[in-house]
């Protein structure tokens, strides 16, 4: 094949490619937006977000207005919680809330709010979203602050006269706060070991 013939072949190939491109038609029959988005969904209003945005972060972000005392919490607990968690929070049958400090490294660890939970804000978040079991999201912020205060008090983590609110709750120091470590796995039969 001389070089003229090679050039002719190459030319034919280019023509063929051009034909294929033209036959496929203009690219914009497939549409598409310039920003590569699908433009599905609509912008949520602040009210719609507020209605569902109930979570509480460890720094207290998201805590609602309101306040509660240990004394008020004792009444909330007796009325809404004691039936499942026991009179003082240790009897169960639902998870124990009180006690267990110093047991985590033993053969029989007792994981409670006082012995295991790293953040007091989690207690508020969980009660507010999921408790009481038979009527979740039925307690007011004041009631949740109060019963949170009572559970912390029972665990020896809050003085009786402290009023819990969005300022004081994140400041409660939990004993197991520094006890959590990142995932080191694979820790057994590591590849190459």
């Amino acid at each position: 094949m001389d070089r003229w013939e090679r050039a002719r072949v190459r030319g034919r190939s280019l023509l063929l490619l051009l034909f294929v491109i033209l036959a496929a038609g203009p690219a914009d029959v497939w549409g598409g937006s310039k920003d590569a988005l699908f433009h599905l969904g609509r912008v949520a209003t602040p009210e719609e977000i507020q209605a569902w945005d109930i979570d509480v972060a460890p720094d207290g972000e998201g805590l609602p207005a309101g306040r509660g005392t240990v004394e008020a919490g004792e009444r909330v607990y007796a009325g809404h919680c004691a039936g499942c968690h026991g009179g003082t929070g240790v009897e169960g049958p639902s998870p124990k809330l009180v006690g267990g400090q110093g047991t985590l490294a033993s053969a029989h660890p007792v994981k409670t709010v006082g012995s295991y939970w790293p953040y007091a804000t989690t207690l508020f978040d969980y009660i507010y979203r999921a408790m009481p079991f038979v009527a979740p999201q039925s307690l007011t912020p004041d009631q949740v602050y109060a019963v949170t205060a009572w559970i912390l008090f029972q665990n020896g983590l809050l003085d009786k006269d402290v009023v819990l609110d969005r300022e004081t709750l994140p400041k409660v120091r939990m004993p197991h706060r520094t006890g959590f470590v990142p995932d080191p796995r694979p820790d057994v039969n590591r590849p190459g070991s």
Partner: protein, 429 residues
């Protein structure tokens, strides 16, 4: 089937037309009353209603006592049911149910037998009213209907989901009796949905977004925080399972699926994704789903389900009735990728042989393995161990406990032993 002239014979016989290969005299006569009733019922109520009404009359077909070639069978149905002879069922407690792994074949778990775990019941959700909210550290907070989510480019993938509490009681030694009771919190489905990354791009992530809080609309308002850099590549927002909309107990109408991660992170009845800078430290990622170590520290965000395998047959509670050929069957899987190899021992780990892997072998999906064995009637200890594509080898119980103690409850993936005695009884041990 062909007749003498080589012509094809009809598969279904016309009612009332005598069979060629049976003497006419032995053919049961159709009671006239039944025929009249059939005609009347069909015209009055339609075929489906007639089927219900006639169910007792189709006695031979229904109870299988007769020759099914000599009596018309049941009519077509709108939504199929399994044979009444099949009894495999989930093992239920109020907030969980376990898959009957010993009764299943291949890798797909029938949707009706997929394990379930929920923290305050299965909600009843009208898909027309369901919304997904994406907000927090995004350029545009967006609200999606289910119909809109279904319009996005779709993806289907076979993936296992395993509860990290699966076989958790075995940390304290052999406790459960059957493979269902011990390992039944794992199942595989084909999941269909839209990529999480596609939906998040629509809202536009802002630079500070590093974690995502996912929330369900069940009575537990279940929440988990997930690291974006690890879930963006693979996570899906799923609306279908095994070809049809999700089962209610699997999150109908929308669930998150994070392939290879512990089941609890695959938030069901998904209603909200909030982009945040750091984890929210919800109850389910602090007081639960954390792994207590012997020194009193607890591992947190232990998402990966490490490689595991289990022999499903012969397995606990079963009995080998005869010596001779037994196909050892089981499932293997890894949250870190494909199953590379499964080895099986019949003498408690002294000798190992490589099992056959049935195709397909997919990443982060149950993989079926089989091995031929001739049982001689003596004692045996059956074990299997999985090696995944990262080179990780499923540990012996002793090696696992040595590192993690016995109080971590979650993520137990040690080799399962089934003891077989001379009578053929199979026990956990």
């Amino acid at each position: 089937m062909t007749d003498k002239d080589g012509k094809s014979m009809p598969n279904e016989r016309e009612p009332g037309v005598p069979s060629r290969d049976a003497p006419v005299t032995t053919r049961p006569k159709e009671p006239p009353t039944r025929r009249a009733f059939l005609t009347g019922a069909t015209s009055l109520f339609g075929a489906a209603a007639a089927h219900v009404l006639l169910a007792p009359f189709l006695g031979h077909a229904a109870n299988g006592s007769g020759d099914p070639t000599r009596v018309p069978g049941a009519l077509a149905t709108e939504y199929g049911r399994r044979s009444p002879f099949e009894r495999a069922k989930r093992l239920t407690k109020p907030q969980r149910s376990r898959t009957p792994l010993q009764d299943l074949h291949g890798i797909v778990t029938p949707s009706a037998l997929h394990f379930e775990r929920h923290h305050n019941g299965v909600p009843l959700i009208d898909p027309a009213k369901h919304r997904l909210l994406v907000h927090g550290l995004v350029e545009r907070p967006l609200l999606f209907t289910l119909a809109e989510l279904k319009r996005f480019p779709s993806i289907s993938r076979l993936v296992f989901i395993e509860c990290s509490g699966n076989s958790g009681k075995e940390w304290k030694g052999p406790k459960g009796k059957t493979v269902q009771e011990i390992h039944g919190l794992t199942s595989t489905s084909e999941w269909t949905g839209v990529r999480l990354s596609t939906v998040l791009s629509e809202a536009g992530l802002t630079p500070g977004a590093a974690w995502m809080l996912a929330e369900g609309s069940d009575a537990a308002a279940m929440t988990r925080s997930l690291p974006l850099n690890r879930v963006l590549d693979e996570a899906l927002l799923c609306y279908a399972q095994n070809g049809e909309p999700l089962r209610p107990e699997q999150g109908y109408p929308l669930r998150l699926l994070v392939p290879g991660y512990e089941g609890n992170t695959c938030i069901k009845w998904l209603r909200r994704l909030k982009l945040v800078a750091s984890p929210m430290m919800t109850r389910e990622e602090t007081s639960k789903y954390t792994d207590l170590m012997p020194d009193g520290t607890a591992r947190q965000f232990t998402f990966d389900m490490e490689a595991k395998s289990v022999i499903t047959a012969p397995s606990g509670g079963q009995r080998l009735k005869k010596t001779g050929y037994v196909e050892i069957r089981g499932l293997a899987w890894s949250g870190r990728g494909r199953v590379e190899k499964v080895e099986v021992s019949v003498d408690g780990g002294k000798n190992w042989r490589t099992a056959r892997l049935q195709a397909p072998v997919l990443p982060k999906c149950h993989t079926r393995f089989c091995l031929d064995w001739w049982w001689d009637g003596g004692k045996a200890v059956l074990q299997s161990r999985c090696i995944d594509e990262t080179g990780y080898r499923q540990p012996a119980r002793q090696d696992l406990v040595e590192v993690r103690g016995t109080n971590s409850y979650y993520h137990y993936n040690a080799i399962q032993s089934w003891q077989i005695d001379e009578a053929g009884n199979v026990r956990n041990g």
